[in-house]
Structures are given as structure tokens and as C-alpha cells.
Subunit: 204 residues, 2 copies
């Protein structure tokens, strides 16, 4: 709980505030939940619903996704191979900062290449949790909420993941969600159960 | 206070969690405290001490500085004019994300150019608070904790702010700290008093 700071009492005991200090203060661990999967597989929807559940239970949590990254930090990047790699690199670095700040941060990007995700993993350390949102491309294409698959099929979008560009599925994801079989609530429940099992969230 | 989430109770009411929701949960506002000033003026020391005081009083707070940015997110950048501008742009974008996450985030970079700081201001909106850590270059040079001024004088570091490159002092900083006259505790007290006056921190 936040307390009023009195002008007569400007003192401090911490030289630097560590991730461990923040985790103790928050009552939960910091972590990077790296959602990966095809366009329209449900990454962002699950990450946003998870965030709402965590927030409503008093957790410090945030979501990095296309909405707040592509038009901000990464607005100078296009879709060349180099720019795609740099896009994921920066997201990994920012996610690591949020985790260091004690937060449970979710990232919701297709992030199709194993090598890029592994780089993010190595810089986030043991707080990195790869969550594969598995959904067959046929199901994603049928959903197609933004009409992107349609544009990919007509050739208006070149190199579209799952259609004309590869998606390298995770081989050792910490968690795989079957987003064609399970609804959002069930997927969120599976992530929370995993975080409790890992001790990142309290389980008692 | 964080609460256990029960597997039988995975529900949520927020569609998205807004900055306002987070601020209400934290009991204080989000803000970007943009410290600017010469090398060795005291930016980082004041920002770290402020962070400790805020943390010890239950606030959500973080510091972006050379230690966690230059070797991470911005490790691809050098010291050309373009790279310096991009360095500050990215820091502004990341600071805006932390503010959106409900945190009081301090940035501690020389950030010598008014135009770059003004860009950060415009993307952070009304939560941006420019804090000029004013300290005469003679005092900074005498402190010289990392021996940088010595290297600048000998020419080993070209274009060093305050010696061989300009520092454009803020003209309308929200707060100016006289870091040659006031000690760290006094500077921290002035920032906190300002945050209380603005209602970002509780003042009752």
C-alpha cells in the first residue's frame, strides 16, 4: 500500500532496488510470457484476458503487442529480414526491463523464427516462459478478423507467416495452448496454473 | 494486495487495463521524470535515491539509465548525431510504456539537445516532467567520478558534452535542481514535493 512521504522523512535504505525487492513488494514474481503463434491464433486476446485477470487480483502486469510497439518504439522498422529480427530483439530487451521492474509482462507477436525467440530467451534468463498458441492455419484463416489471410492469398501481402513465409513452431515451449480446442478462459486458466506451479504466482 | 487466483474463478471484467485503472490500483499516478544535465551532475544518483524512497513507500517505480539501456536495447547505437537522436527517441518510447503501465519512471541521460527532449515530451504527454539537474561544468569536472572529463580534455573522447559539444539547458523545465548547492537528500525532497503538488503522489 502506498504511504504519504513526509518532507521531514526523506530517507532510504536501498542502494539500488533489485528485482527481488520488487517481487517481495508485489507478492509475485516477475516473468516474461512470450506468446508465439500464427496471426489470428489468439495470442493477443489471451494475453489481454490474462492481464485483466492478473490485474484484478492485484498483480503488476503489462502487455507488449503490435498496438503499443509497432507505432511507437519500432515505428522505424519495416518487414525486411533484418528489420523483423531487430523488431523481436527490441521487444525482448523491453520485456526484460519490465521483468526487472517486477512485472509479469506478456508479449504477443507472431515471432515466427526460433532463433529470434531463443535470443529473447537468453537475454531474459530463467523468467522467460515461451507459450505456443497452437492453432491450425485453416482455423486462423477462417477467423481472419483483419482480412490479412485474404490479402495474403491474393498476393497483396507478400511473405505472410503460415501462407507464404514459414512459421517455426517451438520445440521446447514451456506451455502449449490448443487455441482451436480451448476457449480464452480455458487458455488463461492454463497459463495461471502454470505460473502457480512455477511459484511466480502464489498457490496457497 | 495480491490474491490467490482459483482455478474455479477465472473471470475478468476489464476488456483492457488502462493507465487509469493501474493508477487507481497503485494509489499514485504514472509519470516520466526526465532528468537532464551534464555528465557527473548527479542525475543517476538522484534518480536512484528517489527510486529507493518511492519504493520504500509502496510506489511502483523504475529507472532507465546507461546501465540498463546502453548495453541492452540501445547496444546497436553509437555516438553519431543520428544514433544519439535515436537513443533518446527509444528511451522516450520505453519511458512512455512504463508510464502507461502505471509506473513513475525516471530517465537519467545527459540528453543534451532540446529538440530530442521535446520529442520525448510530446510522446509522453502530460505525464512528462523535465527535471534539470543544474551543476556548473567546473563542479562536474572536479567530481569526474569516471575520469571522462579528463579524457575529454586530452582529446581521447571527442565531442564530450560541456567540453567539446553543446549542452542545451532546458528553458521550461518543470523543476530545476541546483545540484552543486543541494545534497542528494534535498534534491529528492524537492522532486517528491513537486510530485505531491501535482497530485501524482498523495499529499494527504
Amino acid at each position: 500500500m502506498v504511504e504519504k512521504i513526509k518532507a521531514t522523512n526523506i530517507t532510504w535504505h536501498h542502494e539500488t532496488v533489485t528485482r527481488q525487492d520488487r517481487e517481495a513488494g508485489n507478492g509475485h514474481g516477475g516473468a516474461v510470457l512470450w506468446f508465439t503463434g500464427l496471426s489470428a491464433s489468439g495470442k493477443s486476446t489471451i494475453a489481454q484476458a490474462l492481464q485483466a485477470v492478473l490485474f484484478e487480483h492485484g498483480c503488476q502486469t503489462y502487455v507488449l503487442d503490435g498496438d503499443n510497439i509497432r507505432h511507437g518504439l519500432n515505428k522505424d522498422l519495416g518487414f525486411s529480414p533484418e528489420d523483423r529480427e531487430e523488431n523481436i530483439r527490441r521487444i525482448g530487451e523491453v520485456a526484460a526491463l519490465f521483468m526487472d521492474a517486477g512485472m509479469i509482462v506478456s508479449t504477443a507477436f507472431i515471432s515466427p523464427y526460433r532463433a529470434d525467440r531463443d535470443k529473447a530467451r537468453s537475454l531474459c534468463g530463467d523468467g522467460f516462459i515461451e507459450i505456443y498458441v497452437h492453432c491450425p492455419v485453416e482455423v486462423c484463416e477462417e477467423r481472419d478478423p483483419k482480412g490479412l489471410y485474404k490479402k495474403a492469398r491474393s498476393g497483396d501481402i507478400p511473405e505472410f507467416t503460415g501462407i507464404s513465409a514459414p512459421y517455426e513452431a517451438p520445440e521446447n515451449a514451456e506451455l502449449t495452448l490448443n487455441a482451436a480446442e480451448h476457449d480464452v478462459e480455458q487458455c488463461v486458466g492454463l497459463v495461471i496454473a502454470y505460473l502457480q506451479e512455477r511459484g511466480i504466482l502464489k498457490n496457497a
